[in-house]
Symmetry: C2
Subunit: 243 residues, 2 copies
Amino acid sequence: MPNPTAAMLTIGDEILSGRTRDANMPHLALALGEKGISLCEARVVPDVAEEIVAAINALRSRYDHVFTSGGIGPTHDDITADCVAAAFGVAIDVRADARAILATNYENPERNLNAARLRMARIPEGAELIDNPVSKAPGFSIGNVHVMAGVPAVFVAMVAGLLPKLTGGKPLLSETVQVLRGEGLIAGPLGIVAAAHPEVSIGSYPFNRDGVFGANLVARSDDAGALALAAAALRALKAELEG
Amino acid sequence: MPNPTAAMLTIGDEILSGRTRDANMPHLALALGEKGISLCEARVVPDVAEEIVAAINALRSRYDHVFTSGGIGPTHDDITADCVAAAFGVAIDVRADARAILATNYENPERNLNAARLRMARIPEGAELIDNPVSKAPGFSIGNVHVMAGVPAVFVAMVAGLLPKLTGGKPLLSETVQVLRGEGLIAGPLGIVAAAHPEVSIGSYPFNRDGVFGANLVARSDDAGALALAAAALRALKAELEG
């Protein structure tokens, strides 16, 4: 059976402005690879409701899982939960269990759970909460969509709590062989190796360090035996080219 | 007149595996902001032809510009140029001017311009070349799609050559006000500021540094006067909350 598929949706003008680099996508990508869930696409959309709703619906109909990051805080630009409810066509309101979790942050919840903070307890109908051990305000899963925070420490903690509950597949394994030759010399023999190992994804990532041309040849597969054969072929290619 | 819109399409299993972080997206985002072109969406797709073609067509029909990164080298996994040709329904072949540019890399082009390297001279019909001062192999623009390399040094150089040729708008300006209070306290008054300045995009980006809660409040606009008013309101909010 093939591995489950996934997409990531990052929500936020902050990422699209270039001011902040998205650290959550590479983190999720690596975690999903270990879990045996294939990250097939990633998108970044702005804090605009129609864009978020359209992206959620496009991605959830196509992949087994959608993981979102961003837009679930207390401020006016945090509109992800409402957009997810709209995408699923369900109601959204403050939920007692989410409110109770937020209340544990305060000695005097009646006074401190103001309207803004209570926004973080608004959960679409039918969703299941995702634990937030860092700052309490929960994420949630509804259908195949998993809604998490944008703050990296919180995102990482939510992913750690969520992934053990999902059904994975075979972990993605990889081997890297570095060849100190230009890609133009590598490409011919590499194409032959790639064609001979169709069940292994082989990529070439060139670099130029202090004037030395080279490429990292990365073989990826969830089949350890096939990967070992492809990696051996890449090492032979390296020996031939560098020898 | 509103600023031109843009999307970025990053092509590569390497990014989706989490092994490499995409540095090109934040670079392009900042450069477009200065140019007055609004980056409205970013996508990452794998080295799979149908996915690349579908993403190019979806994005080019929707935005004024599409900038792609990755997949234009000499190896078997470099399929972007062919996918762009397929998306536009035009032919692709080795082009004399692109071949001549590649030839300048070698003392003996007849011997060194092997089949793999010549792949980098394959240009879709009707495209205009994008200069690559780093490693010669050109990118290209066809219609509103600008095809550039994934290697960051080359991508940066291509963007620097390309952007002056595009029509920009008003540069995106921003001001940041840091407030050392939790977002739960900031959110209420911030919502009022945001509602009072609808022509300015105001975002709140929380952090927790050594146990101190705070948020960067970022106001963005291409209207300097409106931005100044919003920034003044944010500074007043900071004084009120921290005072």
